[in-house]
């Protein structure tokens, strides 16, 4: 081929320039160039540059007159027309046959060289990929395969989004989780496996992730068989250059974990015996429905009458069976939506919404009737009864717990009224109960601040009229209500769990006072102090508390006498005996208070380790009426058992004389000496320890 300036359209170009360009192309090491011409209707190679030899292995002479169809085997059958166009340049990617016969993937650009059109073209041939690019592609492919394998074998259910919500891939673990085939899940099919109620959340989170970032959604997946699995789906954004955004979703099946947590929550909030909600859930239930100022919320509190009798006589297994039966009957009797809870022991609470007081009472009565139906347990026919307290929310109820507390109070009123009753808490009763609650709070505070003070009433010996001991008597001066009698606040302390703290206070203060008297009075100080102990304090801890108090104040045990009522001893005689033995072991004296007012077994009395009987003031009072029988008998009994006696409530000289005559060991009474404060008692003992009575030489009435 010859280079001619005329062959190039446009402004004239000198032959030198054409030669220079032609030479440049000929020796170019960048692009392989061939010139193709139509000869005899067949496109053939007319010329090629040096780079063709480098790229394809042909020398310049090898290709001369070779048909282009041979070089480009995929363009056979007339398809060369697609490349060798008359009017335009065409780029094609296609295999080119090398001198070795191998095919090399190349980009071929065919540029028509006019005129005339359709006769001559230059072909620029470049390999599609360098070695480095091929290596990179192979590495990328290997990464892709490794990732695919990892995902496929992973036990973690995994989704790979294609575009939008469309899945390109799901692994076996996900297919197994939802019990469906991959084909059913690809595209948007997986959305069918999401529970309809959770679909919105899932789609929302996935869409957010498509825009970038990570998200997670808790969702139920519906298996092919209709069963459900609870899952957490964690979405992560992925971006493919040139393609767009997608996501990878990994799924954690939390069904078992949720079930376990639900079981734990159920156990924490339900009574294992009856399966009923417990007190915790009851409180939450009422609190969730309580709206201050609203009405219609009612609580019915039930306490089985004589349940202890069943437990004691037929055993705890039968007692439990009775509770289960009661729970079943309650469940069957209440309205749909009402809550039945086991409050504790044999106590149950029913919570009703949107009910009037009449409605609540009617329900309570229905419950009472249902419970009273006979049942046979351990061969014994039982007719259970319950004392039922009813409270309907009023404007006065400020908090949910007040509602439960009020129905508890109502139940106690029902029980006090004779068992098997239904009682509605009225305004007066509620006011009383609240007043009592306030008093309990005040008492707790008074004990904490040691505002409970002690008075000490001297006890005299009938032998010489000397004051040999004192009895500690607790006093409470309420800052607003004035003096609260022990008959009020001691039972209150017992009911509200404060008696132990109160008892410890009295014990400690008495010991402290004794020690102080010792320091101030020396041998004129009272030799012994009697401290009253409640039945509720009579447990194995008592001897330890006593020992501690004595040690704390450096006193010998003989300086203390513990007074316990006869009824307290008889509540649990075995425990009482063990505790008394410990106290005696310690060296502390023990007296039975109010002797003769209870129902002591005399045989048991003989076995109890006591030192003294206190003759109750009611028997002493009878002396004035000429009835000395009981007092005389008690004193005689004590003497025969080797015990001393203290006669309480001595009011007159005649009583004192008579008691001395009957053989009482000690006397105590308002007329002999009134209770004194610690300081007054110190003065009293420092001055007058004995007196000269008229008939009884050792005693003086004041």
């Amino acid at each position: 081929m010859s280079a001619r300036a005329q062959a190039v359209s446009g402004p004239p170009v000198t032959l030198e320039i054409v030669a220079a360009v032609f030479h440049g192309v000929a020796v170019s090491d960048a692009v392989a160039v061939l010139v193709v011409e139509q000869r005899d209707g067949v496109p053939r190679v007319g010329w090629s540059n040096e780079q063709v030899a480098t790229l394809l292995g042909y020398g310049p002479e090898d290709l001369r007159a070779v048909a282009v169809e041979q070089l480009l085997p995929t363009l056979g059958g007339g398809e060369l027309k697609l490349l060798l166009r008359r009017e335009r340049t065409v780029h094609m990617t296609l295999p080119v046959r090398c001198a070795s016969g191998a095919l090399l993937e190349c980009v071929v650009a065919a540029v028509p060289v006019p005129p005339p059109a359709g006769r001559r073209w230059t072909l620029r041939v470049t390999s599609t990929a360098t070695e480095a690019e091929r290596a990179l592609r192979a590495t990328a492919d290997a990464h892709e395969r490794r990732f695919a394998t990892l995902t496929e074998r992973s036990p973690v259910p995994t989704l790979l989004s294609e575009q939008g919500m469309r899945l390109a891939h799901v692994n076996d673990a996900f297919c197994a989780l939802v019990g469906r085939q991959a084909e059913q899940l690809l595209g948007t099919g997986w959305l069918d496996a999401v529970h309809p109620d959770d679909l919105e959340t899932v789609v929302e989170q996935a869409i957010t992730v498509l825009e970038g970032g990570d998200r997670e959604a808790q969702a139920r997946l519906v298996r092919q068989d209709g069963s459900e699995r609870s899952t957490v789906i964690r979405f992560a954004h992925v971006f493919t250059p040139g393609a767009g955004a997608g996501f990878i979703g990994t799924i954690e099946d939390i069904t078992d974990r949720l079930a376990f947590e639900a079981r734990l929550a159920h156990q924490a909030n339900h009574d294992p015996l009856t399966g009923l909600p417990n007190r915790t859930l009851l409180s939450e239930h009422v609190a969730a429905r309580f709206r201050p100022g609203a009405g219609g919320l009612a609580c019915i509190f039930l306490d089985l009458d004589n349940f202890k009798v069943v437990n004691d006589s037929l055993g705890h297994t039968v007692g439990d069976a009775l509770l289960v039966e009661v729970a079943d009957r309650l469940r069957a009797t209440v309205r749909p939506g009402d809550l039945v809870a086991r409050f504790g022991g044999d106590e149950f609470v029913v919570v009703c919404q949107q009910v009037s007081e009449d409605g609540a009472v009617a329900l309570a009565e229905r419950i009472g009737e249902a419970l009273h139906r006979p049942l046979t347990l351990a061969g014994v026919e039982l007719h259970p009864r319950a004392s039922v307290g009813v409270t309907v929310q009023t404007a006065e109820h400020a908090a949910a717990e007040e509602l439960i507390r009020d129905c508890d109070i109502a139940m106690y009123q029902a029980k006090a009224g004779g068992k098997g009753r239904v009682t509605v808490l009225d305004a007066e009763a509620r006011a009383q109960a609240r007043d009592k609650l306030r008093l309990v709070a005040d008492l707790r505070e008074a004990i904490g601040r040691r505002e409970i003070t002690l008075m000490y009433q001297p006890i005299f010996s009938t032998a010489d009229g000397s004051a040999v001991a004192v009895e500690s008597l607790a006093r409470w001066q309420h800052p607003e209500r004035g003096a609260i009698p022990p008959g009020t606040f001691v039972p209150l302390a017992e009911e509200s769990g404060l008696v132990s703290a109160l008892g410890l206070l009295v014990l400690d203060e008495t010991c402290r006072q004794l020690a102080e008297w010792d320091r101030r009075l020396g041998d004129r100080a009272p030799q012994r102090a009697n401290v009253n102990v409640s039945a509720l304090q009579l447990d194995v801890n008592l001897p330890g508390h006593v020992r501690s108090a004595l040690q704390r104040h450096g006193l010998p045990a003989r300086r203390l006498s513990i007074e316990i009522t006869e009824s307290a001893l008889m509540t649990d005689p075995a425990t009482a005996r063990a505790v008394l033995l410990d106290l005696r072991e310690l060296g502390v004296q023990v007296s039975i208070d109010d002797f003769g007012t209870g129902y002591s077994s005399l045989a048991y009395l003989r076995r109890l380790p006591v030192d003294c009987l206190k003759v109750d003031r009611s028997f002493v009072a009878e002396l004035a009426d000429g009835h000395a029988e009981i007092t005389s008998a008690v004193i005689a009994l004590a003497r025969s058992l080797g015990l001393s006696t203290v006669a309480e409530g001595v009011e007159t000289q005649e009583q004192a004389d008579e008691l001395a005559r009957l053989g009482a060991t000690y006397l105590q009474g308002f007329s002999l000496a009134a209770p004194l404060s610690g300081a007054d008692a110190a003065a009293w003992f420092a001055g007058t320890r004995t007196a000269t009575p008229t008939d009884t030489p050792d005693l003086e009435l004041t």
């Binding site: 009017e87 990617t93 575009q163 939008g164 919500m165 595209g187 789609v203 040139g242 393609a243 955004a245």
Partner: protein, 276 residues
């Protein structure tokens, strides 16, 4: 190419191929925005931001992309409110495909053979659904399937009456391709690959188009299998070919049944989403 599977080229074409090829050049000039989108989407530096900016200049095309992104096909349930997010959701390849559809007037059904889009969407969905079995990306396969028949449109534009007759006379893909070569000197599939190559589509996308008739070629197996599935779904007289053979052993007949059901369900939806 396997000679036995190749169309017969012994008969001289009765149509001027240069005219058909020339129309490929003129189309880009008529829809410059679509052409720009095609060019930009083919770039390695393509970004959703830039593509959406370009798309914004062609309201009709942008509207279609938004509609497609919000369609049930992508599961987005009308939540795609920005064009940029729409581009992200449907993917760059699909945007490029839609722009190409606009470029070639494929969105005007009146200029196309009857049931053209039914075949197109069925072919696209079949390719997309089967893609994972051939280690291909479904979204790429969807685009390939949608565009594979573009050559049909080009031939039809240049020879409406002649091609319509050919289309209705030759129902099977292989027979149709043979007839196309006889009449035009080139098959519609080959023409598609020429046009796509001219518009800068990646070479990897063109290989299946050129190798679909070579039963031994794995590169052509996915498209070949998709054509077989399409034939079974759209042509009542379709003579089935064993799927094992056309898929180079990648598929068994039992794999095809669920694909048929899924493709049948989605094809109409995709057509509605694409064409509005």
């Amino acid at each position: 190419m396997t000679p036995s599977a190749a169309p017969s080229l012994t008969v001289a074409p009765v149509f001027d191929l240069e005219r058909v090829l020339g129309s490929i050049d003129s189309m880009a000039a008529q829809r410059p925005v679509a052409a720009q989108v095609v060019a930009e989407a083919n770039s390695d530096r393509a970004s959703a931001k830039e593509l959406s900016r370009l798309l914004g200049a062609d309201v009709a095309l942008a509207g279609r992309v938004m509609k497609l992104a919000n369609s049930a096909f992508y599961g987005m349930r009308g939540r795609v409110t920005s064009l940029q997010f729409a581009v992200t959701v449907v993917g760059f390849g699909t945007v490029r495909t839609m722009a190409t559809v606009a470029l070639t007037d494929l969105d005007d059904e009146s200029l196309l053979p009857e049931d053209f889009w039914e075949v197109c969407t069925t072919l696209a969905l079949a390719a997309s659904t089967l893609a994972p079995r051939f280690a291909e990306r479904p979204q790429d396969a969807l685009c390939l399937g949608l565009l594979a028949q573009m050559g049909v449109a080009l031939l039809h534009h240049n020879d409406p009456a002649g091609y319509a007759e050919l289309w209705s006379t030759h129902r099977s893909a292989v027979a149709r391709r043979t007839a196309e070569v006889q009449r035009y000197g080139i098959s519609a599939l080959r023409l598609t690959s020429v046009a796509l190559e001219q518009w800068g589509f990646p070479a990897g996308m063109l290989v299946p188009l050129t190798q679909v008739d070579d039963d031994a070629s794995f590169s052509g197996a996915l498209l070949r299998s998709a054509f077989e599935v399409t034939g079974r779904l759209t042509d009542g007289d379709h003579a089935e070919t064993a799927i094992e053979r056309v898929s180079c052993g990648q598929l068994r007949e039992r794999d095809v049944a669920p694909v048929l059901a899924q493709v049948r369900t989605d094809a109409e939806e995709l057509r509605a989403a694409l064409l509005g």
